[in-house]
Subunit: 480 residues, 2 copies
Amino acid sequence: MTADASTIRDSSQTEGRSGRVEADKLERAIAILRQRFGERASTAEAVREQHGRGEGWYPTIAPDLVIFAETTEEVAETVRVCAEHGVPVIPFGTGTSLEGHVAAVEGGISIDLSAMKDVLEVNREDLDCRVQAGLTRKALNEHLRDTGLFFPIDPGADASIGGMTATRASGTNAVRYGTMRENVMGLTVVLADGRVIRTGGRAKKSAAGYDLTRLFVGSEGTLGIITEIQLKLYGIPEAISSAVCQYPDLESAVNTVILTIQSGIPVARIELLDDVQMGACVDYSKLEGYEAKPTLFFEFHGSEASVHEQAEQVRAISDDLGGGGFSWSTRTEDRNRLWQARHDAYYAAMALSPGKKGMATDICVPISKLADCILDTKRDIEETGLVAPIVGHVGDGNYHLVLLFDPCDTAEQKRAKDLVERMNHRAIAYGGTCTGEHGIGMGKKNFLTHEHGDAVAVMRTLKQAMDPGNILNPGKIVSL
Amino acid sequence: MTADASTIRDSSQTEGRSGRVEADKLERAIAILRQRFGERASTAEAVREQHGRGEGWYPTIAPDLVIFAETTEEVAETVRVCAEHGVPVIPFGTGTSLEGHVAAVEGGISIDLSAMKDVLEVNREDLDCRVQAGLTRKALNEHLRDTGLFFPIDPGADASIGGMTATRASGTNAVRYGTMRENVMGLTVVLADGRVIRTGGRAKKSAAGYDLTRLFVGSEGTLGIITEIQLKLYGIPEAISSAVCQYPDLESAVNTVILTIQSGIPVARIELLDDVQMGACVDYSKLEGYEAKPTLFFEFHGSEASVHEQAEQVRAISDDLGGGGFSWSTRTEDRNRLWQARHDAYYAAMALSPGKKGMATDICVPISKLADCILDTKRDIEETGLVAPIVGHVGDGNYHLVLLFDPCDTAEQKRAKDLVERMNHRAIAYGGTCTGEHGIGMGKKNFLTHEHGDAVAVMRTLKQAMDPGNILNPGKIVSL
């Protein structure tokens, strides 16, 4: 980016941006798009700033223009203009990603898809639906309310389905229902040159050609812009019951998880909060009757008989390991309150040290390594002296830290970063991954190379083939 | 292929081959590989012919040389020689594919992986394992016999795990356990230039970069040669029970399937045989006590209580629809006899008209379209006057025909091909796919375009990027 182009943004927004796009081309593209989209093309500073940051700790890097698209064709038009002028284009859903996914690291145009929120079809008898990318997961479930169906994937935020697809999101239900990888059946995608394709289909399985759907799921806007998604749905279970159990130590809680999974009990949710996180949740969500101890939240789905059977099996395992008795919640409102507290864990963690920032990170390991990995992490936190609650979708071997640090204290920030680095390397050494659900973005590119080695070169080959001009969310996942 | 090169094969093997490779380069590559591999490099006619055909009805197109590889490095060495000389290379497992996948349509080198049959690791506590590509599914389950674990994916043939991965295979258990798409965790792959990469990992989920694993699953040897596979395993269920039920007409049988699936009952297997297929199986497998009527085979997996509950639910649905009472098989040997009869359905079909060939085809549709699609197909078969039993993994909406035709009767062959074409177009029109599990190979390339439209151009872009010399199983899935 040359100095001329800075007329359209202040200096704070150029921090961290690399100079690549020619200023005159950028300005021509902006002029064309403003003419085309009128009030739905914004260069307002507040709008651009909002579109240059997620919920992670990374600094805001604002785009030069934000387009509020309403149709796939409008997205395609915008991409064609950007392609012609060599201008980066970054899809934006709800801005809740955590690894700097929406930062405009090379400037360019943000396409906001939040107005594309229609449910295009619900096929009750086939348990699937088709939605626009800007629809949020809660809005989808609200729409499905009277159908007896639901969509289970639930990252903490009320994210858009498009963003969840692009980051291969999951959440608390993934242990039973899988992640976006397993639940996206097909897509409409705008390619780097503005062509529009449909991938996948409505059949439950297919052996017809390359699996383009799975290639776009988790590609973080770097291979194409997802505008429509065909999703699997599920019947609301006949019976649901939840339980909370507190443990004398972290190891007993984790071992309960491991034995539950290894026994093949089809739990719907099994979530761990360590003592620090549980203490934060008790305070933040006013959870009376609970202590700041390592805690598991369970949920069981199925028929009445099956739910009862699952719960009894887990209780037996838990009792053997010193779990302090199950506290049951069969009433919907009690259940919702508990799970809301779980979903608010990030905000509860942030409330532990007002004024600090939270560096949220996640890893995922094979279940047999979970105890070693979590206990190593816990020791590392204690030695580092940081406040960093642990919370996780432990049934999948996936857990999170929120490392609280003072943004003005560079030494503390470095200690936090170093701890994240050790945690990622530990996960990879245990045969796991540097991210179970948050994605790579700009934050985990080094870890990606550490995890996948020479396979990253193949990812780069694919990126180059699909986006030869490198305009689709450049600087994320792989660099060309 | 120029005339000179024909010195190394007879004319019958060149039928259907396109001329591309320069004869002198081919001969140089063959000389290098024969020197390197000695007796494990064969130009014997019988060996080459065997490696130029699957179990489908397509004519044999033999490769010029067969290498019997024993390690990933040997596969890589072979690919490097082929890349250097511009010679096609075709991976070969057990030769049981159905759509002409192993035919050497442009000549070249077949790499036989059947000697690579080691189980490299079994991680009991994580329910996964790593195997070499040439291991067959039955050999894997034999190896797992004492672990309490099993691998559920079961195409009719005792195929190699590598071939099953490359064709995105499934089978009778897919309705509960998924297909190879859901059960492959990671791969070792030899790329078109001989580099070796590892994809995926052992964590249950990951959001780390592009999903290369899913890109290679189903790529039919056209993007890389799979040499090792990390697979999910499952605990052998506490209880298993099987049942057979016969119906007065096809519609009642199919509607039983649809209601069972729509009710969310987690059946492990639900297989349909129409009257013609059941008649063939009764004769071929000596199934006493059964008639040549539309028939469903069920299997239920779970705890004792859950299996009982599932079976009672299905029985209630079936009774309502006129099913003729369940015939139960709880004894392992009775169950195995029934399922062996189901697996032998193809051979039973072939035995209906000795001397004829069988054109096996498969499609898959959303479950709500299954009755319309199967009944349309049945009418079409009757109008065409062909013998073509229907059998299928109907819980997934997937079913097969084996169209019997006289290879000397070109008119009958054309009638069969036309029927296959109508069946494929019907599946696509119903929102389904032209193949649920057999793959594209050389036989379904036209249908792929019909099904995926402009997305096929993206598949071509990927093929070009990953294999710029077009040496990896050329002429399959997409043509460059």
